[in-house]
């Protein structure tokens, strides 16, 4: 690496460059280590994308497997299941993003309005708790709460909202809302952290001015707090839109069952099923490539939108 980047690139005389290299040799050695590590673990898998265009056979390796062009992609898009898992991934990603964002903002604003530091601190500490629990535990809790004898059905029957306990995990219509609720339950307190710090950064003088103009609590939230955190909201939304397709694996895998698989399976589950369990590495890779490609395009679009809005760019 050092060889190619001689004087011309770094814009300094040759002897000065050599002096710098001598001084910085420790840094350069470590850089080489991190470069090699990154090539091996982060960039080498990208070479594996070639498998998506091959009839990959482990015994032949990438070098000698037969090239089949876009055949695997054609197979994917003529598979109704793949179309459905794209729909599921997108739908759950968008629903989760909207639900968690709204709840986090609402929670941050309301928490900020609690009078008394102690009370605020206690609520906030409790709000972080679910973030630290694994999806295994969270889905266990959901199974308990939503089972036939669970607390939710008990409340529903007690208030005569239903005559018979609902089997929440057996009906397709409940699956997306359950996933959204679980995400909201788990991440509201955590996601609120960034909004809260944005709220604290708002100039207190603005609130004083609003108070002098006779603004009540509602008005202050509407005209001071929300405009004050608008740019944070926009930038986080944009950042997360790029990740919409990455949002679906653990909970769908753990909560899904045969009865709801039409709405529960996501792209990652499809890749797992075909790529790992059925060992069709090429099909699994192709399905993954499509996901990555869409994600990258979404991120680039979002970055552009952020720029247009005059927001800080992401990268």
């Amino acid at each position: 690496m050092a060889q190619q980047k001689k004087s011309s690139l770094l814009g300094m005389p040759k002897d000065e460059f050599i002096k710098q290299v001598k001084r910085q040799w420790v840094l350069i050695v470590w850089s080489l280590f991190f470069f090699a590590y990154g090539i091996l673990f982060c960039y080498a898998p990208l070479v594996g994308w070639l498998m998506g265009f091959q009839q990959y056979k482990p015994k032949d390796g990438i070098l000698h497997s037969k090239w089949i062009g876009l055949a695997k992609f054609k197979a994917l898009f003529s598979d109704a299941t793949y179309i459905r898992v794209i729909r599921n991934t997108l739908a759950m990603g968008v629903i989760n993003l909207i639900a968690t964002t709204i709840m986090a903002i609402l929670f941050a604003i309301l928490l900020n309005e609690i009078k008394g530091m102690r009370k605020k601190k206690v609520v906030q500490t409790i709000s972080y708790l679910p973030h630290f629990l694994s999806w295994i535990i969270v889905t266990g809790i959901l199974h308990d709460a939503l089972s036939g004898a669970g607390i939710v059905n008990e409340l529903l029957t007690k208030f005569h909202l239903v005559s018979q306990p609902i089997n929440f995990f057996a009906h397709e219509k409940y699956f997306w809302p359950i996933v959204a609720f679980a995400n909201v339950w788990k991440e509201t307190g955590w996601n609120a952290i960034i909004y809260l710090s944005a709220i604290t950064a708002i100039d207190p003088a603005l609130y004083e001015a609003a108070a002098i103009d006779g603004a009540g609590r509602w008005d202050k939230i509407r005209y001071v707090t929300i405009p004050g955190i608008k740019s944070t909201i926009i930038i986080l939304l944009i950042m997360n839109v790029g990740n919409v397709l990455n949002a679906g694996f653990e909970i769908q895998y753990l909560l899904g069952n045969g009865l709801v698989q039409k709405v529960s399976q996501t792209i990652d589950i499809y890749v797992l099923k075909w790529g790992i369990s059925q060992m069709d590495y090429s099909l699994g890779t192709a399905a993954g490539i499509f996901k990555s490609a869409v994600s990258i395009v979404l991120i680039l679009i979002c970055n552009e939108v952020a720029k247009r809005h005059g927001e800080e760019r992401l990268f």
Partner: protein, 300 residues
């Protein structure tokens, strides 16, 4: 901060409505957050068969520690706990050291390759090979069916590196310069000057990594399913959950069995054991992850 402002003003009707709404919202929020955890705790301390009758809320009805005794005598759970602790300790240590060194390198202002190396890692946040190529790579490197797959591949995280780098960038250059005048090399500067100042951000990143390691189960399923001795607590918990779900229909038949231990009650106890370490630690580290998240928000 804004609380002090409206002290002297009398509350209007709309404000009273607001505070009432807020109190109700927060109470509901706290109840919905805490209830499932406390309920699991109650079931874990309740006699297993008795719990099947339902109706246990916040307190055990028929107190028993049998579930915990069973959990602590289950070999696969014990092995799982051992592996979970090992990967959390080793993984956190390795990852913290690696991210700190990388962040140190790319935050040196006059380092020749700081920018390209930084970009090289930021790209990895957005582009990755995907499940299958990664799986085949690890297989090729003989990382599957081994403990090291938990700690080596994920050692460097670009996000955590950025968090540390942002913090290091905030340290005045004069520290480094005066140390260099005294003849200190980069190793000394890293170990004796910069790292002591970075303790808060190191704590943040260590917490992020430790929680990730402790809660991981998917890599266990993907890479080490075949090795009984390498599965983690979370993975064993998942197997318990699966057995509970499949047996819930036969709950009736369970009632007739002689054992007072049921899959449900064991799972509750195992869940509590799994959550406990994190629940005990996180309240004391709040300032660290709050500042870490805020630093992470400051990007490139």
């Amino acid at each position: 901060m804004s609380n002090t402002i409206n002290k002297k003003k009398k509350l209007s009707k709309a404000d009273i409505a607001f505070y009432t709404f807020n109190s109700i919202f927060m109470t509901l929020f706290v109840v919905v957050t805490l209830y499932p955890v406390l309920n699991t705790l109650a079931i874990s301390f309740n006699d297993g068969l008795d719990a099947l009758r339902g109706g246990i809320y916040l307190l055990p009805r028929k107190f028993s520690v049998k579930n915990y005794i069973t959990v602590f005598n289950k070999d696969d759970l014990l092995v799982g706990a051992y592996i979970s602790v090992a990967r959390t300790v080793v993984g956190t240590a390795l990852s913290l050291v690696a991210c700190a060194i990388l962040a140190f390198i790319v935050s040196r202002k006059n380092f020749l390759f700081a920018k390209p190396l930084s970009l090289f890692w930021v790209i990895t946040m957005y582009v990755n090979g995907g499940m299958i190529p990664v799986f085949l790579l690890y297989k090729g490197l003989h990382l599957t069916n081994s403990f090291w797959v938990y700690v080596i591949p994920g050692m460097v995280s670009a996000f955590n590196m950025l968090v540390i780098r942002t913090y290091m960038n905030g340290i005045p250059n004069s520290f480094e310069e005066s140390a260099q005048l005294d003849g200190a090399g980069y190793t000394t500067i890293f170990l004796n000057i910069i790292s002591p100042l970075c303790k808060p951000v190191y704590a943040t990143v260590a917490l992020f990594v430790a929680v990730y390691q402790w809660n991981s189960w998917f890599d266990v399923m993907l890479y080490n399913r075949m090795s009984d001795k390498l599965t983690t607590l979370q993975y064993e918990l998942m197997k318990l959950l699966a057995s509970v779900t499949s047996q819930s229909t036969s709950a009736q038949s369970m009632k007739n069995s002689t054992s007072s231990i049921t899959p449900t009650s064991i799972r509750a106890a195992a869940s509590i054991v799994t959550m406990l370490p994190i629940i005990c630690v996180y309240p004391f580290l709040q300032q660290y992850f709050v500042s870490g998240l805020t630093l992470g928000g400051v990007k490139e």
